[in-house]
């Protein structure tokens, strides 16, 4: 379960998020939509504990993430997988080591177990042949798949995906969403997906939250969203693009 309770975030005197509240029940997937600069990425960073709210509370399952110190957050983050909008791949190791990175650092599995997990995940994202390549040699779609593999190699029960298909062609976009669905289904993971791909979100998510200038203006079931009274949301669904 992910819950935001009246969250406000202020930076340099500007209210980037104001009184944001919503809940994602365990095992459900939420589409977080909104125009650029609405605060979607900030919400994911708040949930992961990378940012702290100025007011309000953030919960991931039983942990109040917004109240944990950095050391306690380390434990909480092991249950979260985050896909970054701009990949954030480690440029000092190759593709395989990027995916193996969290497992090696945590030191809970044997080297053989780590190799097996990484090989399986790379096969799932169709990157087995790229395992020894530097990340600089990959295309945008391949980088997104590496990012997805790294974020999910430890089978996290919570997945946060920040625009996982930004700038990708429709075929790769469909492949990424199919992968997301597959990986999420394997662990019955709770997920928040930020994207502008309305059709793909319709298939992947059961709830939708629309943000406008840091405020929640719609929170409801995906199935009702297209017929919503909210003009902004309807525009999203009708145009399949930012209103």
């Amino acid at each position: 379960m992910i819950r935001l309770d009246r969250v406000t975030l202020v930076r340099d005197g500007t209210r980037l998020l104001e009184d944001v509240s919503f809940t994602v029940p365990t095992g459900h997937a939420l589409a977080l939509m909104g125009a650029g600069g609405a605060g979607k990425s900030l919400i994911l960073k708040l949930i992961c504990g990378l940012l702290r709210p100025d007011a309000g509370r953030v919960f991931v399952d039983d942990d109040e993430v917004s109240a944990l110190d950095e050391r306690q957050l380390m434990a909480a983050r092991r249950r979260i997988g985050m896909v970054f909008q701009n990949y954030a791949l480690f440029d000092f190791v190759d593709v395989g080591e990027n995916v193996a990175f969290p497992l090696r650092q945590w030191g809970e599995l044997s080297a053989a177990d780590i190799e097996a997990r990484v090989a399986r995940r790379l096969a799932q994202v169709n990157l087995t042949d790229a395992a020894r390549k530097p990340t600089s040699a990959l295309s945008g779609g391949m980088k997104k798949r590496v990012c997805l593999a790294r974020a999910t190699v430890h089978d996290p029960p919570v997945m946060l995906c920040d625009d996982p298909t930004a700038g990708l062609d429709p075929v790769t976009t469909n492949r990424i969403f199919a992968l997301l669905a597959q990986l999420r289904a394997e662990n019955a993971a709770t997920a928040i997906i930020v994207s502008h791909e309305v059709e793909a979100l319709r298939r992947a998510c059961d709830r939708v939250v629309l943000l406008e200038r840091g405020r929640v203006v719609y929170d409801g079931a995906m199935i009702d969203a297209a017929q919503s009274d909210n003009a902004g949301l309807r525009a999203f669904f009708e145009a399949g693009a930012t209103p």
Binding site: L50, A75, R77, F84, A88, L89, P102, Q105, W106
Partner: protein
């Protein structure tokens, strides 16, 4: 007038903010160092990059530093025909002062600037956030291996640099002043004490610590994109150089 006062005040506030942030960062590193969980691969990688790759530039600097020390004292040595003290004058000034200072400044320019550029690039490309999101402490993974490597390697390079400076000093006094290498060596070995050597080593270790903390702090505190990276590198080099001179003053004063 009021503009000048306002600028002075703003400058003082900015300086206080930087010093305060650096102190807090140092405290975080010290706390992490109490329970070190060093990544072996990252530590070896840093030891190689910081130490082995810096050796040529440090050796060259030290060689010429030794030569310059002899050139500077040469006129008086010839004037007073004090050939038997040239080794002592060289050892005292190079081992205690010029050697660690010049190696420190070179180390700051090469290793410190490179370190800030690397960390700030990682910061602006969200690699540091990715580490945190993967439950990996950037202080433990990125900063501790760098601090350890820079302190160890700066000290080691200063010792190696002393040897190169000695070669430069002997060669120059022989070639320029006509002082027999054995005369130089005897003067050096008789008058230069272990304390002189240790003095330089302590300074080198302190400079290594200062460069590592300053360069890591400015790297991780970067804001903005490529422009921010450039500013961070610039600030890091300037702050490291200032730290080196301030530390040099206090260590010289304490160990006098």
């Amino acid at each position: 007038m009021s503009d000048a006062v306002a600028r002075l005040g703003a400058g003082a506030l900015a300086l206080a903010e930087t010093v305060g942030a650096l102190a807090l960062f140092t405290a975080r590193v010290a706390r992490a160092a109490l329970r070190p969980r060093l990544d072996r691969f990252e530590t070896w990688r840093m030891l190689y990059r910081v130490g082995v790759e810096s050796l040529p530039i440090v050796a060259t600097t030290a060689l010429f530093a030794g030569a310059i020390a002899v050139v500077q004292t040469g006129a008086n040595v010839v004037k007073f025909r004090a050939y038997e003290v040239v080794g002592w004058a060289f050892g005292f000034s190079v081992f205690r002062e010029i050697g660690p200072l010049l190696v420190g400044l070179m180390f700051s320019g090469r290793v410190g600037a490179n370190n800030t550029a690397q960390l700030s690039t990682m910061q602006v490309t969200e690699q540091v956030d990715a580490l945190r999101a993967l439950a990996i402490d950037p202080i433990e993974y990125l900063v501790l291996p760098r601090v350890l490597s820079m302190v160890l390697m700066m000290t080691t390079l200063a010792v190696i640099g002393n040897a190169f400076a000695l070669v430069g000093g002997i060669a120059t006094s022989w070639g320029m002043l006509g002082v027999d290498p054995w005369v130089f060596w005897n003067s050096f070995a008789e008058y230069v004490t272990l304390t002189d050597f240790a003095n330089g080593v302590v300074k080198a270790a302190a400079f290594g610590l200062a460069i590592s903390l300053v360069s890591c702090h400015f790297g991780l505190a970067v804001r903005g994109g490529a422009l921010g990276v450039g500013r961070a590198v610039n600030s890091s080099v300037v702050a490291s150089a200032i730290s080196i001179f301030v530390l040099d003053y206090f260590i010289t004063w304490i160990l006098k």
